[in-house]
Symmetry: C2
Subunit: 229 residues, 2 copies
């Protein structure tokens, strides 16, 4: 913010052409399907990294907040608007984009798979969900961004209810536990999990049950509030 004389002089010496960096917003969009944690990727149609998979993103518009830019991108790709979205980190190494200096403010989001819009409507973009454990080679530093997002997501589980975004309105405790297990990539003890979750006092018991197969049906729960962070 403060314009230091020293800075300006150095810039002019190092780089006579005034070159301002571009700023983009990129989003790691997570969902869960078939017991796998998935990330949304888009195949690039232009250089650099033509035909390489990348996380969705784009330049910020002049009058828009960073968070709004992220929401916009998110909506373009998934059709979803209300969900968990949080700033992750800003990546700005000078060589992360071979063309020119591009600084990206990375966000991550959680989307319930069944709220997604039918895939890729009008635009011809190639879009796909990939298992985080089995990602293709990615453009730019997007691999790093995803792995940092994944770490952050894991640590968020401990002290927040973000994960509720990944579930339908009503769900069983087993389904909830499954989501935790998929994200953390390890098994949890059923009794301890239920004890902990219920003691958080975020869940509301409905009087419905869910039958799935020839066995005892499970109670359905919902969230008390829509707070999600």
């Amino acid at each position: 913010m403060v314009e230091s004389k020293i800075t300006v002089e150095k810039r002019e010496i190092d780089n006579p052409v005034i070159e301002t960096p571009s700023v983009t917003v990129d989003i790691v969009i997570f969902t869960i399907k078939d017991d796998e944690l998935l990330v949304l990727l888009i195949k690039r149609k232009a250089n650099p990294y033509m035909d390489t998979w990348a996380i969705p993103g784009g330049f910020i518009q002049v009058r828009e907040k960073l968070h709004e830019a992220a929401l916009r991108e998110l909506k373009e790709e998934t059709g979803v608007q209300n969900l968990f979205l949080e700033q992750l980190y800003t990546f700005g190494n000078p060589d992360r984009d071979p063309r020119k200096r591009v600084i990206t403010v990375a966000y991550y989001a959680l989307v319930s798979y069944d709220r997604l819009k039918p895939k890729a409507g009008c635009d011809a973009k190639e879009v796909n969900w990939f298992n985080v454990k089995d990602l293709p080679s990615l453009a730019f530093d997007h691999s790093e961004i995803i792995s940092i997002a994944q770490e952050r997501l894991c640590s968020k589980l401990d002290y927040s209810n973000v994960v509720f975004q990944l579930l339908p309105k009503e769900f069983t405790l087993t389904e909830l536990q499954k989501v935790y297990e998929i994200i953390l990539d390890r098994k949890l003890d059923k009794r301890n999990f239920r004890k902990r979750i219920l003691s958080m006092n975020l869940l509301k018991e409905t009087n419905k049950t869910k039958m799935e197969g020839y066995h005892r049906p499970a109670k359905l729960y919902s969230f008390k509030e829509d707070l999600h962070n």
Copy 2:
């Protein structure tokens, strides 16, 4: 990263002139002196916010990493190079700078007061340390940045040893506790504090002691490693 047709079109409609945002790095520099948590501020000598206090910062140079830019700013202001420095958050509301769109990647740092360079050598900048509890009115959204930095610092205390940056190489447990108390802004129980800190196994007992007044001298400790996060 991905250049979406939709995005480009919208930008052209909303704003025919291509206007790229500027990117700065701003730093909240904390230190402790006389039992107070201080923040370094600089009085602006240009508009906007001429003569208003602000946290130090500046434009990033074309070939420099974000972290390096923060280090450079930090060194310019404090003369200190090796310390705790961490990215805090990126602030980019379109109206945070009245001139034009400026996005700032905020960092925060901890500096031991006695490693600081003698204040403001050659440059005529007006620089000063302020108690975080008694800050003047600040330029831009710098108040918000500082308060977020302060929150982050508090929560970092629980699970890291960042605070060790604020102490000389060798220090007593009472001094260490004082630093915690100043940052958290509350008293801690001496026995519980010592129990917890020592159980972290980060401290090395030296065989020196420190006399200060007419009473029992205290053992000096140092850190086992230079890891600081």
